[in-house]
Amino acid sequence: MAIATSIDMLREPVPSVAEERNLETVEMTINMGPQHPSTHGVFRMVLTLEGERVKNVQSHIGYLHRGAEKLGESGDLEGYRKAMITLDRTDYLSSLLNEHAYVMAVEKLAGISVPERAEYIRVILGEITRINSHCMFYGAFGADAGATTPYMYAFALREEIQQLFEAVGGARMFPNYYRAGGLREDVPQDFVRRVQAIVDRALYAFDDFDNLITANEIFLSRTRGLGILDQTRALDLGVSGPLLRATGLPYDVRRSEPYSIYDRFAFDVPIGTTGDCYERYLIRLEEMRQSIRIIEQALKDLPAGPTMGNAPKALRPPKGEAYVRIENSRGDFGVYLVSDGKSSAPYRVKYRSPCFVNLQSLNDMVIGTYIADAVVALGSIDIVLGEVDR
C-alpha cells in the first residue's frame, strides 16, 4: 500500500490486502464432535463461523444408534421384558422413568392391575431418577459455561442416589427393576430410611448448587437472553419438558394427563417467562425441589403389601396397541406398543424421545451467537445421545 502523501489520498478508499492480491475468502467451518468435551456424548455439529460468530449449524446424529426399538421386538425368550433392557440404555439418565412408561404400556395392553405399594415405589424412584438426571444437567451445564466445580457437587449427590439404585435394583445405572404388574422384587428393609437420607442430603445440596452459580454474575451474563425460544416456535417444533415450560406454558404430563398415581400429590409446575437458557436452568433446579416434595408425600403414604400383582410371567396380550406417555426428565416420553395377539414379544415398539425432538430447536438457538454460546445453548437442551439415536 502506498504511503499517503496528501489529504486527498487519505480520503480514497484503501483496498484491503485480500482485494489487492485477489485473495478469496473462504468460510470457516469447524467440526464439533463426535469427540468433543461438550457435545454431551457423540453428538456432532458442524459450525460455519464468521470470526467468533456462528453463521450456520448443521447437526449430525446417529453415532449411537443401536436399534433399541427393533431389539425390543425380538424378545423370543424374554418376551416383553427384553425391550426394557435396551430401553434402560437409551436414556441412561432417566432409566427408571422410562421403564415406568414401558411397563405402563404393557399393563395397558394386557390389562394388568398394579398393587398400590408398587405404584408408590415407582413414583418415589421415578422422582429420584429425575433428580439424578437434573443433577447431571447441572454439572454439565456448569462445565459448558466454564465452571468445573458444579460437576463435582452434582456428582456427590448422584453417587448417593446411585447407591440407592444399586441397593434396590442391583445396578447403578440400568436397574431393569419394574415389571408389568409391579416390581421385580420388594425394596430393601431400610428403603424408607435411605430415601429419607437422600431427601435430607438433597435439600442441602440444592442450596449448594444455588450458591455456586445461580446468582454468579458471569454465569448470568453467559446464560441470560441466550438461546431464546418463543412459545409458538417451541410448539411448532414439538418441544417439551423444561424447554417448553421455560417459554411460559405450564405443560407437564404429570399434571396435564396424570398417570400412575400422580394425581394424589401436590406439587408445582415451574414455568419461565422468556425461554432463555437461564430459565431452563432455573426450572430444572426448581423441578428437583418439587420432586423432593412428591417423594416426601409418597414416603409418608407408602402402604405395605405386595409389590407384584397376579401378572403372568410370559405375557401374551390380546391383539391391539397401546400408547403411554410420561413426563421424564427431558420432556414428554412416549411408548407405543403393538401386539399381534400371537407371539410373546411385542410386534412393534416405538419410543417418542423428547431429546430427539428438543434437539431440533438447536438451530433456532445457536445461529447468530458466539461459539461459546453454542456450547451453552446445546447444554441447556440437555440431550442424551442414547435417546436421540435410540
Binding site: 470457516m28 468435551p37 467468533e52 465452571a147 457437587y153 446468582a215 453467559r222 399434571r255 396435564s256 430459565e279
Partner: protein, 413 residues
C-alpha cells in the same frame, strides 16, 4: 549482610548474594555469577511450579468436595514429579498438518519470556545471603511489561503451526486478549511509577516501605493490575484461549509430551511471576507489615524479607487458583468489554488520582478515592436493583394451571 543492604543495591548489576571472585570473570558480558544465578533461578522456577501444581490440585480438590492427589508421596506431594516423569517419557508427536519448524519451536518461545521476566524481581533479603535480585534494572518496569508480551508470539506460532482449526481460533483469541489487557495493565503501572518516581522494582519496594504499601495508596491500580495479569496469563475466568469446553484447549490441542509440558510450565510460571510482581509492586515487597519500619521492626524485614515475599506471593497464587475453581468463563465479547469498558477507565481514574496525590497532597487524593468508591457503589446498586433475583414465576396452584392435552396443545408423536 547488614541491615541497610536493601537501600544500597539499587544500581547493582550482579546478584549481591554472590561472592566477589565469581563476579570477575566475564564471558561475553555475562559473569560466572550471572550464570550461577540463572541456574538457581531456573531451578527455583521449576520447583516452585511443581509445588504450585500440587497446590492447585489440592485447592481444586478441597473446593470440589474431593481430596486431590493423595497416593504418591505424603498427601500426594510427589504427584507433580511423577507427572513430569510421565511427560518426559511420552512421545513428542508432530501432526502431519503441522509446520515442522515452527511447531516444535513455539513451546520454548512461550516459556522463555516468562522465565526472563523473573530476572528483575526483587525477592528481598535473607540472613547470610544478602538481597536476592538478579538484575535490578533502572528500567525494570518497562522490561517486565515488554518481555512477557513476547509470549503472544509463541502462542500464535503454536496455534497457527498446529494445522488445527481449534488451535487457530485459540491463538486468535490469545492475541485479542493480550492486546486488550496489556493496556490497562500498563496504565495501572503508571500509578506505581509515579508513586515511587522510579521504574526500578527495588526502588519501588523501598519507596513503599517509606510511604506505605501501594495496595492502600493505589487500590484501584492494584485491582486493575491483578485482573489484567490474570487475563494476560489466560487464567480462569479469563481462560477463553484454552477454553476446554469450547475449543478443547486452544493452541495446545496438538501438543503432547514435554512440549505440552512446556506450555503448562509457562502457565504456572506466569502465575508465580505475576503474583511476585503484584507483591513487589503493590504489597510492599519483602516488608513484614505496613509501617513496620516506623515501629522499629524494620530489621525483621531486612533479615528475613525473602520469606515474607514468598508468603505474600503464595497467598496471591492461592487467590488466583481459588478464582479458577469458583467462577465460570467469560465469553470473548464480555472479556473485551471488561478490558476496554471497565479496566481501562478504572486505570485512568487511578492515574489521575495518583497525580492528584503527588501534586496536591493526601487530602484531595482521599476525597478522590472516596468519590470514586461512592460512584462505584451507586453504579453497583443501580445494577443490582435492575437485576431481579429470580425470573421464574412459580405456579403454586398447580392443579388449575396445568394445561390439559385436550386444549389443542397436544403432543406430536
Amino acid at each position: 549482610m547488614t541491615n541497610n543492604a536493601a537501600s544500597e543495591l539499587t544500581l547493582q548489576a550482579v546478584p549481591s548474594w554472590m561472592p566477589a571472585f565469581l563476579v570477575a570473570p566475564m564471558i561475553g558480558g555475562l559473569s560466572l555469577a550471572d550464570l550461577i544465578a540463572l541456574v538457581v533461578l531456573l531451578l527455583f522456577v521449576l520447583n516452585f511450579v511443581m509445588i504450585e501444581i500440587w497446590m492447585e490440585r489440592k485447592v481444586a480438590g478441597h473446593i470440589q468436595l474431593r481430596r486431590g492427589p493423595l497416593h504418591v508421596g505424603p498427601h500426594g506431594s510427589l504427584q507433580s514429579p511423577a507427572d513430569v516423569l510421565k511427560l518426559l517419557t511420552k512421545e513428542d508427536l508432530t501432526p502431519v498438518a503441522a509446520d515442522p519448524i515452527v511447531f516444535p519451536m513455539a513451546p520454548y518461545l512461550v516459556f522463555v519470556p516468562v522465565f526472563l521476566t523473573f530476572l528483575v524481581i526483587p525477592w528481598g533479603p535473607l540472613v547470610l545471603f544478602g538481597n536476592f535480585v538478579i538484575r535490578p534494572f533502572d528500567l525494570g518496569l518497562v522490561y517486565m511489561v515488554a518481555i512477557p508480551a513476547m509470549q503472544g508470539i509463541g502462542l500464535v506460532m503454536a496455534g497457527w503451526s498446529s494445522g488445527n482449526k481449534y488451535s487457530l481460533l485459540g491463538s486468535a483469541r490469545v492475541v485479542a486478549q493480550l492486546i486488550s489487557y496489556e493496556l490497562p495493565m500498563v496504565i495501572a503501572l503508571l500509578g506505581v511509577a509515579m508513586m515511587a518516581e522510579s521504574l526500578n522494582l527495588t526502588t519501588i519496594v523501598e519507596s513503599q516501605m517509606k510511604q506505605g504499601w501501594n495496595v492502600f495508596l493505589q487500590p484501584i491500580g492494584f485491582l486493575v493490575f491483578f485482573l489484567a495479569t490474570m487475563s494476560e496469563m489466560s487464567r480462569a475466568p479469563f481462560d477463553i484461549a484454552v477454553a476446554e469446553s469450547e475449543i478443547v484447549g486452544g493452541p495446545f490441542v496438538e501438543y503432547s509430551g514435554m512440549r505440552w509440558g512446556m506450555f503448562y510450565l509457562a502457565e504456572f510460571a506466569a502465575v508465580c511471576l505475576n503474583s511476585a510482581l503484584s507483591t513487589a509492586l503493590f504489597l510492599g515487597g519483602w516488608e513484614l507489615f505496613p509501617g513496620s519500619r516506623a515501629l522499629g521492626l524494620g530489621w525483621i524485614s531486612d533479615q528475613f524479607g525473602l520469606l515474607f515475599f514468598m508468603g505474600k506471593m503464595i497467598v496471591l497464587v492461592l487467590i488466583i487458583q481459588w478464582a479458577r475453581f469458583a467462577l465460570p468463563r467469560l465469553r470473548i465479547d464480555q472479556l473485551m468489554d471488561f478490558a476496554w469498558k471497565f479496566l481501562l477507565p478504572a486505570g485512568f481514574v487511578n492515574f489521575i488520582l495518583t497525580a492528584i496525590l503527588q501534586v496536591f497532597g493526601f487530602v484531595p487524593f482521599a476525597i478522590g478515592i472516596g468519590l470514586t468508591l461512592a460512584f462505584a457503589a451507586v453504579l453497583l446498586a443501580t445494577y443490582q436493583a435492575r437485576r431481579s433475583p429470580s425470573t421464574v414465576a412459580l405456579i403454586r396452584t398447580a392443579a388449575a394451571a396445568a394445561v390439559p392435552t385436550s386444549q389443542g396443545v397436544g403432543l406430536p408423536v
